[in-house]
Amino acid sequence: MQYDHILIRYGEMALKGKNRKSFILQLQNNLRQQLQEFPNVTIKRTQGRMFVLLNGHDPEVIMDKCKNIFGIQSLSLAIKVRNEEEEIKAAALWALQNEQGARTFKVSVKRIDKNFPIRSQQMNQVLGAHLLSSTIGYTVDVHNPDMEIKVEIRKEATYITSSVIPGLGGLPVGSSGKTLLLLSGGIDSPVAGFLAMKRGVEVEAVHFHSPPFTSERAKQKVLDLAEKLTNYGNKVKVHIVPFTKVQQHIFREMPDNYAMTIMRRMMMRISERICKNESILSMTTGESLGQVASQTMESMNTINEVTNYPILRPLVAMDKDDIVKISRKIDTYDISIRPYEDCCTIFVPKSPKTRPSREKVNEFEAQTDFSGLIEEAVSGIEVVTLTGKAGAEEKFNDLF
């Protein structure tokens, strides 16, 4: 016997009104995308829930994939059997024995098909007795069982589900529009992207690349981070901006202590240009209040002046420890700590201004013309689209 499908319960989405259908379709679409490599899998919607029919594929690998998809409140592995008492008994027994570490259980039967001859209460007892007499060492605990075996007798078939595993929650990616994530290569920005995705936002990323000061490896690091984010969405487009000239100009012409602030403003201006070109309606950063010089209230105020696009800052109220925890969970931490120089670390002024002002910065910027350099940077953007493992690194594919 083997689990043959996965039952998916929606969270918040179930509360939506008229838009509900579009959220559910988005989730179904995302599931399809993530499970592409399993050709026999089919995904069905029924009243209030979704089923992934495994059709012979390994349940655990697919469960792991589903656990990464936003919009799922919880999942359970399930077996479908005919509405026959003996088949139901056998499947319930198998489910119990297949659950590692469970010692106490409870059976909950729901008889939706009233033509089934045994009533719910009675069926609870029949199954409980069968499980107890066929096993050693298990006991029934109706209040706090290790495992609840749910049996739903429906018209078409009976479904037996095992323990309920929590999903990621949130909303299906793609249901809340698109954002442009400023991806530096550090620990914070991928976490910010992940959290934006949690609210259903599709993420594109922008990275500022300053060769030869920053290496190909620093760029690859960012692509690897973006690749990790594809585990939670479908694809991630990365806009790589050639930033060397802008940066050099800033550090040659602008006062040292304002260079960082001005550099950030340039990044915002270029990012806004990308948003306009790509019809993206917001930007997302990994800023957390008070972490470094660029993340004081004064810096945010000064940097934010150059754009009126909303800037999402999912980490703004989070402590570093909590951010690190999430980065470990989403597997970006080990990539983020690779020791390559990035555009933010290469030209660090000795004492960056922690309390810059809008007046001052505008005064400085007025002394020189950046528009040509910004134009050049925007026109030199390289776009890399990451789609997850399957399409990655074609030059390596023939080797494996």
């Binding site: 655990e60 690998v61 290496s215 490896r217 690859q220 990655a392 023939d398 080797l399 494996f400």
Partner: protein
């Protein structure tokens, strides 16, 4: 040529050789160099690890590339014993291990560890009860071979894994050099902390292999140096070797289900035929891996039979290749309770996915003829 010595080594697959060649030529840089070429090489190494992890259904950072089975076994055994000796000094293995395990344990014995060598029954399998009884408060490590290299006996490593996972300070290593691609074994959530795999038994190259090291398991390295492979195995990575190993693993995995069924079919043919042959004893138990068939022809020198078959371009072997130069009897067969006449006259036939039914019929016919000719001379 009929090659039936696949447990000693396999013929490298041409696709594997090609991967090795391509990787050597295109990505020759040192993955630790910081220039672009080094970056490319590092990326390829990372991809190799991801691919290997995916094929074995484990985490990427649980893979350590090694130079093969002997190294994997030694790293697991000495690595755990030396790293965790403060927790206890008792370690457990069986009497039917490959020399790279057995002698590593004997080496540790000289350093002051106490070793229990579990006995086996006549089919070459350890008793779970005896294992349970052997575990003490002082036990830190168990190493068990999954599929025996001479007999093909399968140890109940899944069950042992469950037992081992009940003892928090106990590490469990499985030597899966002969089992990979022949007897499926799940690594994650199995209670297995370490597992050795070798490339050249899978139509990969000599000098390639990997050790699965479960997250959170710390080892004392055999090689110190540049900190490669998370400092578990220093030394410039054999990148092309790693790539070729992944290729071999993939090809094996793709063919595994059908390949196993096919080899069981061939094994049954051999068993049926040989059990009817006069003077031939079958040592491989009924419940065994599909690719190994061990027999004894008491009274006839196995070397002579091997050379007679060799003249017909049919290649089989005596016991394990790693111990076959010693002319002594097979320790494995002796541990199963066989007398000297049987344990000193053993022959091993070992199959691959590509072995054909035709080859097997030819081999059986030639073997029968050789035995008859030899017997006529002896009488």
């Amino acid at each position: 040529m009929i090659y039936l010595d696949n447990s000693a080594t396999t013929k490298p697959d041409s696709a594997v050789l090609n991967s090795f060649y391509q990787a050597s030529e295109r990505f020759f840089a040192n993955p630790s160099s910081i220039h672009q070429l080094g970056g490319e090489a590092e990326k390829l190494l990372q991809r190799s690890k991801e691919q290997a992890a995916q094929l074995l259904q484990v985490q990427t950072d649980e893979i350590v590339f090694t130079a093969g089975g002997t190294e994997g076994n030694n790293l697991a055994i000495k690595g755990i014993a030396l790293e965790h000796q403060k927790r206890g000094n008792h370690i457990i293995t069986t009497q039917v291990e490959h020399p790279s395990v057995l002698e590593a344990f004997q080496g540790l014995e000289q350093l002051g560890f106490t070793v229990t060598y579990l006995p086996v029954n006549e089919t070459g399998v350890v008793s779970i009860d005896e294992l349970k009884q052997a575990i003490t408060d002082d036990t830190i490590f168990i190493s068990i071979i999954h599929v025996n290299n001479e007999l093909g006996s399968i140890q109940p490593v899944e069950e042992i894994g469950e037992i081992a996972s009940q003892y928090p300070k106990l590490f469990f290593h499985v030597d899966n050099v002969q089992g990979m691609g022949k007897v499926p074994l799940k690594l994650s959530d199995s209670g297995i902390d370490l597992c050795t795999i070798s490339g050249h038994k899978l139509h990969g190259l000599k000098g390639t292999g990997l050790l699965y090291v479960k997250k959170g398991t710390t080892l004392f390295p055999l090689f110190h140096g540049g900190g490669q492979e998370r400092s578990l195995r220093s030394g410039t990575e054999n990148l092309a070797g790693a790539v070729s190993l992944v290729k071999a693993l993939r090809l094996t995995k793709e063919r595994e289900t059908d390949g196993i069924r096919h080899m069981y079919h061939l094994q049954t043919i051999i068993r049926e035929k040989l059990s009817m042959m006069d003077g031939v004893f079958i040592n491989t138990p009924e419940q065994a891996a599909p690719h190994i068939m061990n027999i004894s022809v008491p009274g006839l020198k196995p070397e002579v039979l091997i050379h007679m078959l060799g003249e017909k371009e049919i290649y089989i072997s005596t016991k394990s290749a790693c111990s076959s130069k010693q002319t002594d009897e097979s320790k494995i067969l002796a541990a199963c309770g066989h007398g000297r006449d049987r344990s000193a006259s053993a022959l091993r036939i070992s199959l691959a996915y590509d072995s054909t039914e035709n080859d097997i019929h030819t081999f059986l016919r030639e073997l029968e003829e050789a035995i008859n000719r030899l017997k006529a001379v002896m009488e």
